[in-house]
């Protein structure tokens, strides 16, 4: 492990921690604009995190140590996820620790902890949220895995870094399979990040909420960590999507210049992505909870189709 790589890794993590709330803020802002509302400041998520950290934790009587432990685990998982997804450079010393399959595992681990924590206090909303989260999860997870499989087959590797390098270096061939995978990935990202049409991040209406239902009992620093983790997740997904489908501009090897160049590229890509996200959220309506499986089933189908297309049409490249 060289020093440059280590620093790059540290920098990527730090960048993720810093940028993630900003991305959330940007998406919220875009959404507000599109919905003709007056937008909150771009830095609103940071204010909120700061406020929450300052507040006391108010813990329900029935909460067990697991409840207090879970936010940290979720946060840790998201940090790891951000650390292994190439944002600026593919030369990440942590990357071999977990390939794409393990990445899905990391998200799964976080999900299980948050769902268990939701059930811990024993309220009606908590268990409801946990159940719905697991429902979304068991459909989204395989779909995500299939998307990753498609890309992995193209690059003959499950290592994120290798996939991104391969995809970035390819001659400009249109991969229909990637299109399918891209659509599936978009669907999954919406579901996984608690966005419309599967969930609404801004509601406390019992019939519709999923993510919010789970974290109802959290407060203070725990809530802050969870919110931060949610931002990180959005960031991770965005970066993953960008890395898989628009990998150009990510630095390879230990070139400092490339790294410098990668930062603005990333910022632009994220900004466009966030705006698109907000746009899609705006023009869609939240679906009934039992339509969500259909939505995700479609995603799963697309992903599998992508895989088959890859095998059928593109052969071995």
């Amino acid at each position: 492990m060289n020093v440059f790589g280590f620093l790059g890794q540290m920098f990527a993590i730090a960048l993720a921690l810093l940028l993630a709330p900003l991305l959330t803020g940007w998406v919220n802002q875009c959404r507000a604009w599109l919905q003709n509302r007056s937008a909150p400041p771009l830095l609103q998520p940071y204010y909120m995190l700061h406020k929450l950290f300052l507040k006391d934790v108010v813990l329900a009587h029935g909460a067990s140590p697991l409840f207090r432990f879970a936010p940290f685990v979720v946060f840790g998982c998201m940090v790891l996820a951000c650390a292994i997804i190439p944002t600026l450079s593919t030369d990440l010393p942590l990357a071999p620790a977990a390939d794409t399959i393990a990445l899905v595992g990391v998200f799964g681990l976080a999900r299980i902890f948050i769902a268990l924590a939701a059930m811990d206090v024993g309220t009606s909303f908590g268990t409801l949220g946990g159940r719905r989260e697991m429902l979304i999860g068991f459909l989204a997870e395989p779909a995500l895995l299939m998307v990753i499989f498609t890309t992995a087959m193209i690059s003959q590797s499950t290592s994120v870094a290798t996939i991104v390098e391969t995809l970035a270096h390819r001659d400009f061939i249109i991969y229909p399979s990637l299109a399918f995978a891209g659509i599936a990935f978009t669907f999954v990202s919406f579901a996984e990040n608690a966005r419309v049409p599967v969930d609404n991040p801004a509601t406390h209406l019992e019939l519709t909420m999923i993510h919010e239902a789970m974290i109802l009992e959290y407060s203070g620093r725990h809530l802050a960590l969870i919110e931060w983790a949610a931002s990180l997740k959005l960031y991770a997904y965005s970066c993953l999507g960008l890395a898989l489908f628009f990998p150009w501009g990510i630095a390879e090897g230990d070139s400092f210049l490339g790294l410098l160049l990668a930062i603005p590229v990333l910022a632009i890509k994220l900004a466009i992505g966030g705006a698109l996200l907000a746009g899609i959220e705006t023009i869609n309506a939240k679906v009934r909870i039992f339509r969500a499986p259909e939505f995700l089933g479609t995603a799963f189908l697309f992903a599998v189709l992508g895989l088959l297309v890859r095998l059928l049409l593109e052969g071995r490249v």
């Binding site: 950290f53 140590p65 620790a97 024993g122 009606s124 068991f138």
Partner: protein, 669 residues
């Protein structure tokens, strides 16, 4: 004096188990002696078995012939690497389970403790003998002894009708399976009359007979393992047994069936055909999906785990199928990858499923309740059990960094590199299978969250749960041991693969160990690090660092204040334990999405009900599609035949008369 060979050591261990069992009969009611002396000794023997097997791995096979058995077929024994891997599993799993059992068995429950001790240790010894057997007779004797002793263990509490029914179903299907296995051996000896495994290896069967042998073995071992459609006994028998026995059955006994399948498919049958793999894989996929779906909708904690075992067995069958496909096409390095996944998953499942079953045992003892609907909040009263169970749950859900993930990872890797099969059709099907495996893994997470959340988290659903007590010291040691295994298997994959690789190499001629060793013990990269790698230790360390750092920073930069208050719950007032999801409620989405997969009997409350209630009973389709029709058919045949015995003597004479006439007219030399 010649040195003590490993095979002798294992034989001695089997005998030691037998002796311990018989010692239990000396004072069958002396609980102290049995549980605090014999069971720990049994654990010690288990440790010995594990260590001997561990030390043996990588050596060349050893054989022995005992003086017992049939006159022209004495017991042939053979210890090779495949057997050693499973002996390792048996030994180490039994350590934890035996120690747990030392603290588990109490007074006044069904069978006398001494008898139970006998059955338990015969069970262990016969499983070991199954692994060592090297001829059909010895194998069958050990196999059926295993079935019998576990049957008696299952029916320990035989006063309940449903437990008797479970035991009956279990033994019946085990017997049918045994018949199929016997037939398979018969086909493999192919008329040579040589029923030693060496003799079977020497035969070269035609594709037809080879396939027949394989399919029979799949049926026979599948019946023991719980593959569709001969799985119905499993969810009945595992919950019926006392928990250490359930753990032993689920964790270890099912693996003997996998062992048998591996033995037949890769060792005894020389030339596998590619479609065997497809059959195994299809059945495995169906089993896995079925198992996991049913496990999500169960309301009995042990049944939930039993169905989860079916799911895992299904995954193992998928792995075996994949190995067969690769092996048939001579893609040995990929076959080795899939085979390693299978062996790894055997070990992993043995650890975490035993752990979970033992945890249910502790819960059962503490609360006398198996129904999920009456549990809840036990993490407050049983922290040891709860936290150790969490390890099992994470592993069982196939999540990093514990053992279940490693095998799943290996399996998915082998799927991923399947393109390149010379069969276009297969190339298409295999990735779809991978999708199903992914779905199953995700659903397993659902089931496990339900299991853990409903038992250990939330509010206590019944008043008396407040009196629940944590597991005793013996039980804790057993649980910690198994949790430790689960963790070790999770974070040290390269080391473990280095050990079990000997079996892969023995069966396929090639292994993963060389490649894995190139990259240091912390990294798992079965092909090359560029293509796929996994470093569980670093993975774990990163998360742990983030957690600790986050916690310290928050405390340093802000504060660590905390106060307690009532739960908020959106301001909802009625926060009784009843407001939480029940087990049925939790799985409602699954029932709804996969409705055609279940056979449900539901009762919905109406306005006019005096005491409105909702109930749902989920039944197995196979029971109605396969078993009841067969039973009816047998019943009909039986009714027809009983007409022969109509009670009238003249008719009886007529039979005799007609027999004579027919023979006189028809039979000619």
């Amino acid at each position: 004096m010649p040195a003590l060979l490993p095979i002798d050591a294992l034989l001695i261990a089997a005998c030691a188990w037998l002796v311990l069992g018989i010692a239990g009969l000396v004072a069958p009611r002396n609980l102290r002696f049995i549980s605090k002396t014999l069971f720990p000794l049994g654990a010690l023997v288990g440790m010995m078995v594990g260590l001997v097997a561990l030390g043996f791995l990588g050596e060349s096979p050893e054989v022995a012939v005992l003086a017992i058995g049939l006159p022209d077929l004495p017991f042939h024994l053979r210890l090779d690497n495949l057997a050693a891997v499973f002996a390792l599993l048996l030994g180490f799993a039994s350590v934890g389970i035996s120690i747990f059992a030392a603290g588990y068995f109490r007074k006044g429950e069904g069978t006398a403790p001494g008898l139970m001790c006998l059955q338990y240790h015969i069970f262990l010894a016969s499983m070991l003998m199954v692994l060592l057997a090297d001829d059909a007779y010895a194998f069958m004797v050990a196999w059926e002894c295993m079935a019998l002793s576990s049957f008696f263990l299952v029916t320990t509490d035989h006063r309940h009708a449903e437990i008797r029914r479970a035991g009956y179903l279990y033994l019946l299907i085990a017997h049918i399976g045994a018949i199929a296995i016997l037939l398979s051996f018969g086909v493999m000896s192919s008329g040579s009359g040589d029923y030693s495994f060496a003799g079977m290896r020497a035969q070269s069967l035609s594709p037809f007979w080879g396939s027949a042998a394989f399919l029979l073995a799949l049926l026979g071992f599948g019946a023991k393992a719980g593959l569709l459609p001969v799985h119905v006994w499993l969810p009945e028998a595992h919950p019926a047994a006392p928990s250490p026995v359930s753990a032993m059955m689920s964790g270890v006994m099912l693996k003997t069936a996998i062992y048998g399948l591996l033995r037949v498919s890769f060792d005894l049958l020389a030339e596998p055909l590619w479609w065997w793999g497809v059959v195994a894989m299809s059945i495995g996929l169906a089993t896995a999906v079925f198992g996991v779906l049913y496990s999500t909708v169960q309301s009995d904690m042990k049944r939930l785990l039993a169905y989860s075992s079916i799911e895992n067995i299904g995954l193992l069958a998928v792995g075996i199928g994949l190995t067969l496909i690769f092996h048939a096409y001579r893609m040995e390095s990929l076959a080795a990858l899939a085979m390693t996944a299978v062996l790894y998953h055997c070990l992993a499942h043995a650890g975490f499923k035993s752990l979970l079953f033992l945890c249910t045992g502790s819960v059962l003892h503490a609360t006398r309740e198996r129904s999920l609907g009456k549990l809840g909040g036990l993490i407050h009263r049983m922290p040891w059990v709860a936290w150790l169970a969490l390890a099992g749950v994470i592993a069982s859900a196939g999540l990093p960094p514990l053992s279940g993930f490693v095998s799943e990872w290996l399996l998915l890797q082998s799927f991923l590199f399947s393109p390149g099969l010379p069969h276009p059709w297969l190339n298409m099907v295999v990735p779809v299978a991978a999708a199903v495996v992914a779905l199953v893994a995700a659903l397993a997470g659902f089931a496990m969250v339900k299991f853990y959340g409903i038992i250990f988290l939330g509010q206590m659903r019944e008043e008396n749960l407040k009196d629940a007590h944590d597991a005793g010291p013996w039980e804790r040691v057993g649980l910690v041991w198994l949790a430790g295994l689960t963790l070790a298997l999770g974070v040290l994959p390269s080391t473990v693969i280095g050990f079990i690789d000997a079996a892969t190499r023995q069966l396929l001629g090639t292994g993963l160990a060389d490649k894995v060793r190139e990259h240091g013990w912390w990294m798992l990269a079965p092909i090359s690090p560029e293509r796929a790698s996994y470093e569980p230790l670093i993975f774990l360390a990163t998360i742990a660092a983030a957690v600790l750092l986050g916690r310290q920073l928050v405390r340093r930069l802000y504060h660590g204040r905390l106060r307690r208050s009532a739960a908020w719950d959106c301001g909802y007032v009625f926060q009784s334990a009843r407001a939480q999801d029940t087990a049925e409620g939790f799985s409602q989405p699954i029932r709804r999405i996969f409705e055609p997969m279940f056979r449900m009997e539901r009762h919905f409350p109406t306005i006019r009900d005096e005491k409105p209630y909702y109930s749902v009973k989920v039944e197995d389709h196979f029971w109605h599609w396969l078993y009841l029709p067969v039973a009816r058919l047998a019943e009909r045949g039986s009714r027809l035949i009983t007409r022969l015995q109509g009670g009238r003597i003249a008719i009886y004479l007529l039979y005799s008369f007609l027999t004579l006439i027919v023979l006189l007219l028809v039979a000619r030399p």
